[in-house]
């Protein structure tokens, strides 16, 4: 089993020093997602700017290295970007994770996220990697419906 493919240095770095962690104001939507199987949880807030860019994504997450690192990488990738681009990145990450290791990640789109390519070969960990991404999408869609 290729553990090092799963636990890439980039992932362990993000795990030890997660970016954008903690819950912050302002925000238009807050969601709480759980992985019912293992109990991993994330509370996540999204703040959208008036110009349609992602102003902030803040979160409080409890979970394994993969889920924590994934939240950290995700915030790096979406904060400051136009929401539509952020959602494209979400789609690319989802495709990578569901690809059973057959999808070649695009570094231009996913940046540090390509480190998760190895996770796609561990079906039981895919949910961990997706937890915060799913929460972001959910919150972003809700935030769009709210007056900024």
């Amino acid at each position: 089993m290729d553990l090092d493919a799963l636990y890439q240095e980039i992932i362990l770095d993000h795990y030890r020093n997660p970016h954008h962690a903690g819950l912050r104001d302002p925000f238009e939507s807050e969601v709480h997602h759980v992985n019912p199987t293992c109990g991993d949880e994330v509370t996540l807030r999204v703040h959208l700017n008036e110009d349609g860019t992602v102003g902030d994504v803040s979160y409080d997450a409890e979970g394994c290295s993969i889920s924590q690192a994934s939240a950290s990488v995700m915030t790096d990738l979406v904060i400051g970007r136009p929401l539509s681009e952020a959602l494209d990145t979400h789609a690319a990450f989802l495709e990578l994770m569901q690809g059973k290791g057959q999808v070649e990640p695009d570094e231009d789109v996913l940046e540090d996220g390509i480190a998760f390519a190895g996770v796609a070969k561990f079906p039981a960990r895919v949910k961990c990697a997706l937890l915060s991404w799913m929460a972001f999408k959910d919150a972003a869609v809700q935030a769009q419906g709210e007056p900024a």
Partner: protein, 413 residues
């Protein structure tokens, strides 16, 4: 409907079913004509289960080790197969239950009903599609009404305007009758039911083994069937439902993996299908069901149905040749399923079944869990012969011979 044609490789198919080599008391080979009760199992189904138990056994989802991943993949793979088999829009709409009865109870227990609402069933339902609705109506104050049965065994649609009128919230009916063999016009009834905003629950227990079951083509809202009648094992059934309906229903059984989170004060629910799968699911049974679906899909449901029509035609001809036999249900093989119930004048069904059994011929005698339909025809019980993809014309001939022997034994006719 379809024209009959025996399966061309019938002898090869029979070799897939180890039990068909059994001989019974007196050295008689097994003539199994009780497939509407439960089907026999091909070797591939048994082997898939054995392989799972010997090499991949683990609990699913919750287990994140290699065996757990293998077991989860096998289990969830079976869900994919069922979704394809039913042409379901989404795999998450496929819920594994313990049998068709639990699937029907799940809907009847959770579907919101109240005083003034009406549930419509039919007089030809299996008890598993009657009793849950009686209990639901008793609990909720809703009323129960039903389509009767015409003399020829088809559904009596004369009251359809009255039955399918505002106030009716649920129309629950069998696709194919397990007693009469009748194939009901389910797509037409679904169309009419939807006009008045009712949901349609189809009991496909007898349809799934024999006909292509396409939930979208018939525009059903819920569909139930059972593993052991489609060459799969006991201990597993399926409820398919539309996503938006399943999402709206409250949970049925609580526990295990159906939760999102649990505290002592309050719990929340997992998304479908898990919301309805409390506790350890039937894992090795799903593996067996998946193999069964592969098997019958490989033979082809159209080919299986054509075989059923051919065998049923031969059976109906044979029965017509025995004086004193009265068939209950439609007489045209091209427009009915393969379960054929009949009376033999002067001999009680138990005694018919006993005499046939003494010659290795297995049929069912009794009310076949369809007491109201029996009552409709003024009988308390009947003898039922039912075929499947492994049934041969020679087995039907053995049955007909057996009936003549029975008449002789009891000195009737």
């Amino acid at each position: 409907m379809s024209a009959g044609a025996l399966l061309p490789d019938l002898e090869v198919i029979r070799k897939d079913f180890p039990i068909l080599e059994r001989t019974l008391e007196g050295g008689f080979p097994l003539v199994y004509l009780d497939s509407a009760n439960t089907s026999q199992k091909p070797q591939v189904v048994i082997d898939a289960m054995v392989d799972h138990l010997e090499r991949h056994n683990a609990n699913i989802a919750r287990a994140m080790h290699q065996l757990g991943a293998e077991s989860t993949e096998a289990f969830e793979g079976a869900r994919d197969k069922v979704a394809t088999f039913l042409n379901a829009p989404s795999r998450d709409e496929v819920i594994f239950t313990k049998n068709a009865s639990e699937a029907l109870n799940l809907v009847a227990r959770t579907f919101p009903l109240g005083p003034g609402d009406r549930v419509v069933i039919t007089e030809m339902e299996h008890h598993s599609n009657i009793v849950p609705w009686q209990l639901a109506c008793e609990r909720s104050g809703a009323s129960l009404d039903w389509f009767g049965i015409a003399e020829d065994g088809t559904l009596d649609l004369s009251r359809i305007d009255e039955l399918l009128s505002p106030g009716t919230k649920v129309v629950a009916l069998t696709w194919v009758s397990n007693m009469l063999g009748t194939i009901n016009p389910v797509a037409e009834i679904a169309r009419r039911a939807h006009e008045i905003g009712a949901v349609v629950v189809l009991d496909a227990s007898q349809a799934a083994p024999h006909l292509p079951v396409d939930v979208q083509a018939v525009d059903a809202d819920f569909v139930a069937f059972t593993g052991h009648k489609v060459t799969g094992p006991t201990g597993i059934g399926v409820l398919w439902g539309r996503t938006e309906l399943l999402n709206a229903l409250p949970p049925f059984l609580g526990g295990g993996e159906m939760i999102a989170t649990v505290s002592m004060e309050k719990s929340t629910w997992a998304p479908i299908p898990h919301k309805f799968e409390a506790g350890t699911p039937p894992i090795v049974e799903a593996v067996g069901l998946g193999a069964a679906i592969d098997y019958i899909s490989h033979v082809g449901l159209d080919a299986i149905h054509a075989h059923e029509v051919a065998i049923t035609a031969h059976l109906l001809d044979g029965l017509a040749s025995v004086s004193g036999v009265r068939v209950l249900g439609p007489l045209d093989a091209a427009h009915r399923g393969g379960a054929v119930s009949f009376e033999l004048a002067g001999v009680h069904p138990h005694d018919v079944a006993q005499l046939l059994d003494s010659r290795g011929i297995a049929v069912r005698a009794g009310h076949h869990c369809a007491k109201p339909a029996h009552k409709r025809f003024g009988v308390q019980s009947s003898t039922r012969a039912s075929s499947y993809l492994y049934t041969t014309p020679a087995e039907i001939d053995a049955l007909i011979d057996g009936l003549e022997y029975t008449k002789n034994y009891f000195k009737v006719g």
